[in-house]
């Protein structure tokens, strides 16, 4: 498990939940990670998540960036982690298996809806250019 978030201060402003500006935006990597966890169902641990995103997007992902994003998602309460036993293929080291929380699914839905709305009507033009 990644380090537990600092004990919430007594102040109403707990880190990451809301800010005076409203909800913090979901970053692209965070978005991808949330989707990957859902796609991996109950076997979503670090290496699998990275592998899944790499496979689907054909791009190299840095472990460090992924870990920091996972940590951030945990702090925001969008994913939860539990420990699982390690295997020989990973030097016998433990796994942290992630699941998307209800809040996470809600945020993902909002984000996805916003993206879909923005994509509507643009697809053909962008696709055409992207392939040239």
């Amino acid at each position: 498990m990644l380090s537990a978030p600092a004990a919430p201060a007594a102040e109403p402003v707990s880190p990451g939940a809301t800010t005076p500006m409203g909800r913090t935006a979901l970053g692209e990597l965070e978005h991808l990670i949330l989707l990957a966890i859902i796609r991996l169902d109950d076997d979503a641990y670090g290496a699998a998540i990275i592998g899944e995103i790499e496979r689907q997007t054909s791009r190299d992902l840095s472990h460090a960036a992924t870990y920091i994003a996972l940590q951030r998602l945990q702090e925001k309460g969008l994913v939860a982690a539990r420990a699982a036993v390690g295997e020989t293929a990973r030097g016998g080291r433990a796994k942290a298996v992630f699941t998307v929380t209800a809040a996470g699914r809600e945020r993902l839905r909002e984000s996805g809806a916003a993206l879909f709305a923005m994509w509507k009507g643009l697809d053909p033009a962008l696709r055409g250019r992207g392939r040239s």
């Binding site: 537990a4 991996l40 076997d43 641990y45 472990h63 080291r93 796994k95 942290a96």
Partner: protein, 904 residues
């Protein structure tokens, strides 16, 4: 969503294929413990997949790249995560004014602590501001010329008669050859240091002056404040006598009289028209200037400039000019040097090195190069003081914040975030820091005038030293930086857990150690150690100064008055009447209160020098030796008390026309005469302009010439009667205090010849004192710094121990209730305070021994590492430290256990 088959590589059999151990180890350093295992396992797993797919080399590269990613990003991300809410709190506007008010009220309420913090900062910032003002004036601020980096000085390098190769002044023939041929220079000029007597009727004064070519000022790029600069016409033979004054001379001696420009004043007896006055900031490097500025700063600039007036035609071959040039844009010093060296080889001029060695030095380096190491050393010492002060403040502020713990914990419980609390503490520290910085500046301002009087006159640009805007900005920024850094450290020491604990325990704890924990102990040890380094270093410098000033100069320095006179001609071109000097010497000898009088071309410690080349009878041409050359009257040796070791000194028989004679000193005999060879009767050839054959008739004791710590050099004395000089320096041994005779000597001279000025009356002791100015300055500064550091360390120790006693009085009460006696309480508290002190003393001794390597080059007549001195300093420090602990220990021993336990 179900996982696709084969998605997760779970092959076994690769157990021996481990990821690079170094990479794993590094990644483990930065990963938080909670996620370390999982992250490393993920890396491991995907490393194995890579290994299969791309081979071991590519897999290793990939692994290391991932590790680098962790190293680069994780620490930053963690810091951001933990700081974000604290930082957010800092910039929330609400309650800022309240925090400032609160901090101000707290500062007033806690007067004692506020005073301690302000005093600690004031001492350290004051010392730092003073040193910064000197470093800024001498090393940091550019020379007062446009584009000063392009200015260079050009020296010739060739072996002199004694074979020493070093930068030497050049002849005007060199200058003209170099100037005409070298296109690397945009402009160039020459100057020679001289001195000149100004006679304004009511007063007359000898001032440091320079002869300059007309091109010098334009090379420097300066303009006059009033009147004009010199023109090429002023350099020609037969040009009317003109002069330019420094602003300081014009203001202090002529009251800033505008009508002076265009008027003639007698300079060296010749009516000379003042054509211009330089601007106040104009300053020009002159290593031979000896007189302090009228404002009390050091010397090292001329106050009067005169043109070359015919020297280019008449004096082309005397190597005594210094050349300043401005490099063309883009030309490096090395390129200029190579060009000058090429000319030097092509047009060999005498004197010169056959191999065309010349040196091109940046003017800035020329000016400040020699003093830079010492000034930087001083700055290093101030750095130590600042460290001691900062450590001190960490303890003080932590104690202060500790006392606010309950209040902070309550505020935290009521919903104030860590950011808000941190802001409150930062504002508190910032206010204290600014107050300390301001007090430090006041201290620095008060310390500057006495410091300037102490500044060695050889310190260039010292007239620029002062508390100006840059120094103020530096001091305030430094105090704020220290305040905030210290505050952050104190907050870290306190920690969020500390705040919570404060609420729980009512700001008091029964358990725990007296010293206040490992960190406090470390801080005290560091403070003590750093102060001991400064204390020992100062003691070494001070001892060197004392040892040097007590060194036997070879003559009796007490009750001797010296002054000098340069013979004025009754009319231009008239024959010099040297008999004035002899009549004056005889007349002074008869004055009441005078024991004896003598005179010489050069008296020791007047910073003048003169050398000649000698060959001892029968030696080959190559055996020429450069020795100090002094022309002295018959009364000289007696007046100074220089002992005669063999033969005779000079007498009335050594007249012009009589056989030429010389007296040498012991060093001469020891170094140049073969063992056992009789000195008396030895023939000597002396070359100084012309060559004379003389006979050694006596040997006298050694004297020190310029520096007490330098070894005595070989000297040849010849009688004034046989080689009269235009400049005479007199030595008058008196029965009364020497200063009282100045007036009667002046009167005696005026009775003989009103036109002859007597200058620079000063006692021999004061002259020797001046030669030690540099040593004294650094010894005084180091002692002051050591004093401040020790004071700070003791105050810090006292503060920490008494704070601990106040905080832990319940523990003392419990111990006493359980039967501990007062002696046990004394022991407990003394030991808790002294343990870190002893640790610091040991570390300080080691540090001082390391610092001795720097000191070694600054001291004379004493050793840098003296176990006795180390022991004495350590013991003294330990004693005062014990005294500082004793006061709170006494307070603790007097506690009434019953009353204390009842309070709980």
């Amino acid at each position: 969503m179900s996982a696709a088959p084969g998605r997760h590589p779970r092959e076994t059999g690769h157990g021996e294929a481990r990821p690079p151990r170094l990479g794993e180890w590094l990644a483990a350093r930065v990963l938080p413990e909670a996620s370390r295992d999982a992250a490393l396992g993920d890396l491991h797993e995907r490393y194995l997949a890579r290994l299969r797919r791309a081979g071991p080399a590519a897999a290793r590269r990939w692994y290391l790249r991932q590790v680098l990613g962790f190293l680069a990003r994780v620490p930053f991300a963690r810091a951001r995560a933990s700081a974000s809410d604290a930082v957010r709190g800092l910039f929330t506007r609400s309650g800022l004014a309240a925090d400032v008010r609160h901090a101000a009220r707290a500062a007033v309420r806690e007067r004692g602590l506020t005073a301690a913090v302000v005093l600690v900062l004031a001492l350290a910032i004051g010392a730092a501001a003073v040193v910064f003002s000197i470093v800024s004036a001498v090393l940091l601020r550019p020379l007062p010329f446009p584009d000063p980096e392009a200015l260079v000085m050009v020296w010739d390098e060739y072996p002199d008669e004694s074979g020493i190769v070093d930068p030497k002044p050049i002849t005007l023939a060199h200058y003209e050859a170099w100037r005409g041929e070298v296109d690397r220079f945009a402009a160039s000029g020459v100057f020679e240091s001289i001195s000149a007597v100004i006679d304004a009727g009511r007063w007359s004064e000898r001032v440091d002056a320079a002869l300059v070519s007309a091109s010098l000022f334009s090379t420097l790029g300066v303009r006059p404040a009033r009147g004009r600069l010199f023109t090429e016409d002023d350099d020609r033979p037969g040009a009317p006598a003109v002069a330019i004054l420094s602003d300081e001379l014009w203001r202090f001696r002529f009251g800033g009289d505008e009508s002076l420009i265009g008027r003639a004043i007698p300079i060296d007896g010749v009516p000379t028209q003042v054509v211009g006055v330089m601007p106040p900031e104009f300053w020009f490097y002159d290593p031979y200037a000896v007189r302090r500025s009228y404002t009390g700063a050091g010397a090292s600039s001329a106050r009067l400039w005169r043109p070359m007036a015919g020297r280019f035609a008449a004096e082309r071959d005397y190597p005594r000019y210094r050349m300043v040039a401005r490099l063309r844009p883009g030309v490096t010093r090395e390129a200029a040097r190579a060009a000058v060296a090429a000319i030097e080889r092509r047009l060999p001029l005498e004197p010169s090195s056959a191999d065309g060695r010349v040196r091109v030095l940046a003017l800035e380096e020329q000016v400040a190069g020699a003093v830079r190491p010492r000034l930087l050393g001083t700055a290093g010492a101030v750095g130590l003081i600042l460290l001691v002060a900062a450590i001190n403040l960490v303890s003080l502020l932590a104690a202060r914040f500790d006392a606010r713990r309950t209040e902070l914990a309550v505020r935290a419980a009521l919903g104030a975030g860590r950011g808000r609390l941190a802001r409150a503490l930062l504002i508190h520290a910032g206010l204290l820091a600014l107050a300390g910085g301001a007090a430090g500046l006041l201290l620095a301002r008060a310390a500057t005038p006495p410091l300037l009087a102490l500044v060695p006159r050889g310190l260039p640009l010292s007239h620029r030293v002062g508390i100006d805007a840059a120094v103020i900005a530096f001091a305030l920024a430094l105090s704020l930086a220290i305040g905030l850094a210290v505050c952050l450290l104190a907050i870290v020491r306190l920690g969020p857990a500390g705040m919570a604990a404060g609420l729980a325990a009512g700001a008091r704890s029964v358990a725990g150690r007296f010293g206040g924990g490992r960190m406090t102990d470390a801080l005290i040890a560091a403070e003590v150690g750093l102060s001991l380094i400064l204390l020992i270093s100062a003691a070494v410098l001070l001892r060197s100064f004392v040892a040097t000033s007590r060194t036997d100069a070879g003559f009796d320095r007490r009750s001797v008055l010296t002054f000098q006179s340069v013979l004025m001609l009754s009319a231009p071109g008239a024959a010099p009447d040297f008999s004035f000097f002899d009549r004056l010497e005889a007349r002074i000898g008869e004055l009441p209160g005078v024991v004896s009088a003598g005179s010489a071309s050069i008296v020791p410690f007047t910073r003048w020098g003169g050398t000649a080349v000698v060959r001892i009878g029968g030696e080959a041409e190559t055996a020429a030796r450069r020795v100090s050359y002094r022309v002295v009257s018959s009364g000289y040796f007696d007046s100074l008390g220089i002992g005669r070791l063999a033969g005779r000194t000079f007498g009335a028989a050594d007249r012009p026309g009589a056989p030429l004679v010389a007296v040498v000193n012991r060093a001469f005999v020891g170094q140049y005469l073969p063992d056992g060879a009789p000195a008396i009767g030895q023939p000597l050839a002396i070359t100084r302009g012309r060559s004379d054959e003389v006979e050694i008739v006596g040997v006298v004791a050694d004297v020190k010439e310029d520096r007490l710590f330098a070894p005595a050099l070989p000297i040849v004395y010849v009688p004034l009667a046989q080689s009269p000089t235009f400049m005479r320096q007199f030595v008058v041994r008196t029965a009364a205090p020497p200063e009282r005779l100045v007036e009667s000597i002046r009167q005696a001279a005026a009775e003989l010849d009103r036109a002859q000025p007597l200058q620079d009356f000063i006692t021999l002791e004061a002259l020797i004192g001046q030669s030690l100015e540099e040593e004294r300055f650094y010894a005084v500064v180091a002692s002051a710094f050591a004093g401040i550091a020790v004071l700070l360390a003791l105050a810090g120790l006292y503060g920490v121990v008494s704070f601990a006693v106040r905080q832990r009085d319940r523990e003392v009460g419990v111990r006493m209730a359980l039967g501990a006696g007062r002696r046990a309480v004394y022991r407990l508290i003394l030991w808790s305070g002294m343990r870190p002190v002893l640790l610091g003393l040991v570390a300080g001794c080691l540090g001082a021994a390391a610092a001795a390597r720097v000191l070694r080059s600054l001291i004379h007549g004493t050793v840098a590492v003296d176990p006795v001195l180390y022991l004495a300093a350590t013991a003294a420090f330990a004693a005062v430290a014990a005294a500082a602990c004793l006061v709170p220990a006494r307070r603790a021993a007097r506690l009434d256990p019953v009353r204390i336990l009842n309070q709980a």
